[in-house]
């Protein structure tokens, strides 16, 4: 499996299930159930907290093990039904950051039963060229499930209807951010390293402010934390063929290690550990360009008296749209990197010099 550009059957089935499930911020139950089924027999203990975080614990076998927290978020971006306009048409709000220009003309799934619906747009025939210069506002968009149903009401959630697919060495689906991270942590839990106490948080409400991670970290109170998320790969050509200086990370170049994002300045000792592990194990890696954005680490490292943290992301193009894309090798290499790193964390890592 290591360094592999293929997914085995078990991985494919799991990713299909995870990516096609609907779990918006504050309503993560469907994904939580899938995860629980996968990890139940592998953990020492677990609980679901009051926000819905799934908190799993796997005890290590060494004498005085480090407590290491891992986190990946269960929630995805999507829509919440806001008002019933009648005739099968529903006004909606976005949940998490979505570019409105990604919405018109898309298929969606609505509610617990995944009822199919569409977000349409005014026919081009009835628009002028100056109309078409402006983006269509949320005010004008509706989710249409067809008239005559009473199954959907305000408060229900909706998401893009995209199905998970493989295409060569790539994977396409909705919610790769962060179901890929969730799948990584499931695999880690199923092959948990014995040298540490593993505290795994499948968090809620990351997309709406890192809220699940905050209380999960308070509860676990670990010695240090690794977060697995997805980060945008803007590695497309620039419009004027110039050098692309804002690629953020590249698809296929390996797991992206965070130095600094908008919410966290990663602990330099953990960055060093990750890089050394990559070099030792021959795992490709890249640095995610320092800059904006944020992961659950942003909430975790500020909890209690401080928790040294770092994030690793699987690069993904077209994040927060109907169709994200990632490379299978990046996914597998992230699993390998995390596994090897956890197995080799020195007990005294937090007494090392930062510089």
């Amino acid at each position: 499996m290591a360094n592999s550009t293929t997914l085995d059957k078990k991985q494919t089935t799991l990713l299909e299930k995870l990516c096609q499930a609907m779990a918006l911020s504050g309503d993560e139950g469907e994904v939580r159930s899938i995860i629980l089924e996968e990890i139940r027999s592998y953990v020492t203990d677990f609980k679901v907290d009051t926000l819905g975080n799934l908190l799993a614990f796997k005890k290590g076998t060494s004498k005085k093990p480090l407590k290491v927290m891992l986190a990946a978020h269960m929630d995805e971006i999507g829509f919440m039904i806001a008002a019933d306009d009648g005739d099968g048409l529903f006004r909606f709000e976005t949940s998490g950051g979505i570019d409105l220009r990604q919405l018109p003309g898309k298929a969606v799934i609505v509610g617990k039963e995944h009822i199919p619906g569409v977000i349409g747009a005014r026919p081009i025939h009835l628009t002028t060229s100056s109309d078409r210069r402006d983006k269509i506002s949320l005010e004008k968009l509706r989710i249409d499930i067809g008239p005559g149903s009473n199954k959907i009401k305000p408060g229900d959630r909706a998401a893009f209807a995209t199905r998970f697919q493989r295409a060569g060495t790539s994977m396409i689906g909705k919610a790769l951010d962060d179901r890929l991270g969730v799948a990584v942590l499931i695999e880690i839990l199923q092959q948990a390293p014995a040298n540490i106490d593993l505290q795994v948080a499948f968090t809620v409400q990351e997309e709406t402010g890192l809220r699940g991670a905050k209380v999960a970290a308070y509860f676990f109170n670990p010695d240090l934390a690794f977060v697995v998320d997805s980060t945008p790969a803007n590695d497309l050509p620039v419009w004027d063929d110039e050098d692309n200086t804002s690629y953020n990370c590249h698809l296929g170049a390996g797991p992206a290690i965070y130095i600094a994002d908008g919410a966290t300045l990663s602990d330099p000792r953990l960055i060093r550990l990750l890089v050394e592990t990559c070099k030792k194990e021959g795992i490709p890696y890249q640095f995610r360009q320092p800059g904006g954005g944020g992961t659950d680490a942003g909430a975790i490292h500020k909890q209690r008296a401080g928790i040294p943290s770092v994030s690793i992301s699987i690069p993904g193009r077209y994040a927060h749209t109907a169709a994200g894309m990632a490379r299978i090798s990046d996914f597998n290499n992230t699993i390998s990197l995390l596994k090897a790193t956890l197995q080799s964390i020195p007990l005294d890592i937090l007494t090392q010099e930062r510089k």
Binding site: S246, A260, P268, K302, G306, L350
Partner: protein
């Protein structure tokens, strides 16, 4: 005092990379504190005194980090694209000099100027360290730099980069040095990562759980031509903060500070700052709440490479801090 301020301001330590300034401050206070420790986020904590019967646990916070730049991409010709750490104003950047934490110096250059009236944005700038290709560039993605500008003593006025908040650190160090007696248990916390969101103060305050919190930081002034209106000016004394962009100081703490200043005949100003905040905001929100306030050193041209303070304000701030710490407190 000037020598200390020079040493502090000429150290290069942007948020997250406070190693060097931590060493410098540590060597200044090593012999002065009862206990020194470094916590999980790198905050340097010096403890002085044990709270007696009427003593309180007081946390003082001055941030060690400064704003800076972080390399995001090295292009094939060795030019370095960057992002800001903390509040970096684009109009202070073009043609400025920077120094990386690893010692390399560079100039901030820019793309073709299409409109001389407009400022180049960060994405239109780059750092030139004299490399000719990515292969001989001594800088890699993730390396950090700060403004390169020497300290300058004008007599009454002092100019340096990173007065925000090395001047607050200097006041704390000097107070620790001159404090003779105190009934309180005082935590002198030199915090990390203030400029990116008060992060060091958030966690250190949780760990300490103080009775009172006071930050030492800079504040703006309204005394330059067509400045944003503000009643604080250089040379009129340290400012006692009543409100800033994110915090209302505890009214009892403000009252205590004003009363102490008046009694000790230390000049002071009342401060309402629109926009900007300090570590005190984070301390106030800790656990069940901490009454908090701030002693501000008025400063012109904040977040530029040439921040200016008045030495009398600095010395009076130290005097005020010592006076506050020297006597019993009943809020």
């Amino acid at each position: 005092m000037n020598a200390l301020i020079q040493k502090l301001t000429e150290t290069f330590s942007p948020s997250g990379y406070e190693h060097d300034i931590r060493q410098v401050i540590r060597s200044e206070i090593e012999s002065l504190a009862d206990e020194i420790k470094v916590d999980a986020l790198g905050n340097l904590i010096a403890i002085k005194g044990k709270s007696g019967k009427n003593g309180k646990r007081i946390m003082l916070a001055g941030h060690m980090d400064e704003i800076g730049l972080i390399a995001t991409h090295i292009d094939p010709n060795g030019f370095i694209r960057f992002s800001g750490i903390g509040g970096l104003y684009p109009h202070t950047l073009y043609s400025g000099r920077v120094r990386f934490v690893n010692g390399i110096t560079g100039v901030i250059g820019g793309e073709r100027i299409k409109d001389i009236q407009k400022t180049l944005s960060v994405s239109e700038l780059f750092i030139d360290v004299g490399a000719t290709s990515i292969n001989n560039c001594p800088i890699k993605t993730g390396d950090v730099a700060a403004f390169e500008r020497p300290f300058f003593n004008m007599g009454k006025r002092l100019i340096a980069k990173a007065m925000d908040d090395r001047i607050g650190c200097a006041v704390m160090i000097e107070a620790l040095r001159t404090l003779k007696n105190s009934p309180h248990e005082i935590y002198f916390v030199f915090t990390t990562q203030e400029e990116v969101g008060l992060r060091g103060a958030t966690t250190s305050a949780y760990g300490i759980d103080p009775d009172i919190g006071i930050s030492l930081d800079v504040t703006g002034t309204g005394d330059t031509p067509k400045a944003r209106r503000m009643d604080v000016g250089l040379g009129k004394g340290p400012a006692i903060k009543i409100k800033d962009g994110r915090m209302l100081s505890d009214v009892r703490v403000v009252e205590w500070m004003i009363h102490t200043a008046e009694k000790a005949k230390i000049p002071f100003q009342r401060e309402v700052l629109e926009g900007g905040t300090t570590d005190a905001t984070a301390i106030q929100l800790t656990r069940s709440g901490v009454p908090a306030g701030c002693i501000s050193i008025p400063c012109r041209y904040i977040h530029s490479p040439s921040e200016m303070v008045d030495i009398d304000d600095v010395n009076n701030a130290t005097k005020l801090l010592v006076a506050l710490l020297s006597n019993p407190i009943s809020l």
